[in-house]
Assembly symmetry: C2
Homo-oligomer: 174 residues x 2
DNA sequence: TAGTGCATGTAATGCGTTACATGATTTC
DNA sequence: GAAATCATGTAACGCATTACATGCACTA
């Protein structure tokens, strides 16, 4: 099947355990949203495509009297996921409006331009607070690479804050 | 007018000097593409919208016998740009397929999972090489904040490389 | 004279979000 | 009884890329 951007997020989450579309959306929001968002408008159609391809199987799972369709990954799905995981193409792409503002900040009086740098610092701080709020403190340790990606986000924010501080000092000390 | 994502990139570049659509595309690719891409399919329609709003003015600029339409920013346009620059809302968003792979790397044998970390490191290295290739070595110093954003990208890559090295050590030393 | 660069633009397509519609169940 | 949560889905819209169409001018 034709893999799109959302394919691997959904398939990967189903490789951890069987889930409903609703579960997947929650898992995305709790764990990978800060580097890979996905909405219902992508997830539900993708589940049907994945099922048609034979990479997952859906089954009606009674849940009280509440309708619920739970999907589990198939052997073919695991294979497809493994193939994707072996891909190494790594192009780093960002879309960062705060950087765009900074880029044009020479149009502003010096003090206001520095304000944009401080605002960026605050942005990193807010993301850090958000990331920490994701840690439910359950004490259950995550698998090593799940933990690794969480660390990446924390470390990235910490680095970003330091970077803004350093640059502000450099720019004001002249 | 209704500002979209590409509005500020185009208007900001025109605040530096008058340019054609073609010039704008080149400037985007040379200076801001790594954090804010834009294609012809966005730039040319946007120029018409900006002109209709009175934020820029186009004039046919003879260039040999070659047709060329050059746009310059108006006073209203400068004001609009300044208003946008004063916005401080800073949400950091990424879409990073390499992080998504790492997140699911627990599905792989340990050695292959570490390979993904190394591939990420290579990705940072490639971006660094690309960024350095953008420096034309003309010696003409950039305005402070243009330079600042360029430094950000360089520093981010350097940090990313160190981070991957550190994490690889941490994961192998157990 | 062939290739590269300058120059303008549009159409088709794809990706992704937002908003909406619907309704059952659980918790306070 | 109200509010939150579980649950599934679609339609409309907007943003962005890709591919294409066109043609002149300069340079090797």
């Amino acid at each position: 099947m034709e893999a799109t951007a959302v394919t691997w997020a959904v398939l990967g989450l189903l490789s951890q355990r069987a889930r409903s579309g609703y579960d997947i959306k929650n898992a995305v929001d709790r764990t990978i949203r800060h580097f890979w968002a996905a909405s219902y408008g992508q997830i539900y159609p993708e589940l049907k495509r994945l099922e048609a391809a034979g990479w997952i199987e859906g089954a009606d799972a009674a849940n009280g009297g509440r309708a619920r369709r739970e999907y589990r990954i198939t052997a073919a799905g695991r294979q497809a996921l493994a193939d994707w995981l072996h891909g190494t193409e790594t192009r780093i792409e960002l879309r960062d409006e705060s950087l765009l503002r900074l880029f044009f900040a020479d149009r502003l009086p010096a003090e206001e331009a520095l304000g944009l740098l401080r605002a960026r610092r605050e942005g990193y701080g807010a993301m850090l607070a958000y990331l920490r709020s994701l840690d439910d403190g359950s004490g259950t340790p995550d698998p090593p690479f799940v933990d690794l990606v969480y660390r990446w986000a924390l470390d990235y924010c910490a680095w970003g804050i330091e970077w803004c501080d350093r640059q502000e000092q450099r720019l004001t000390s002249r």
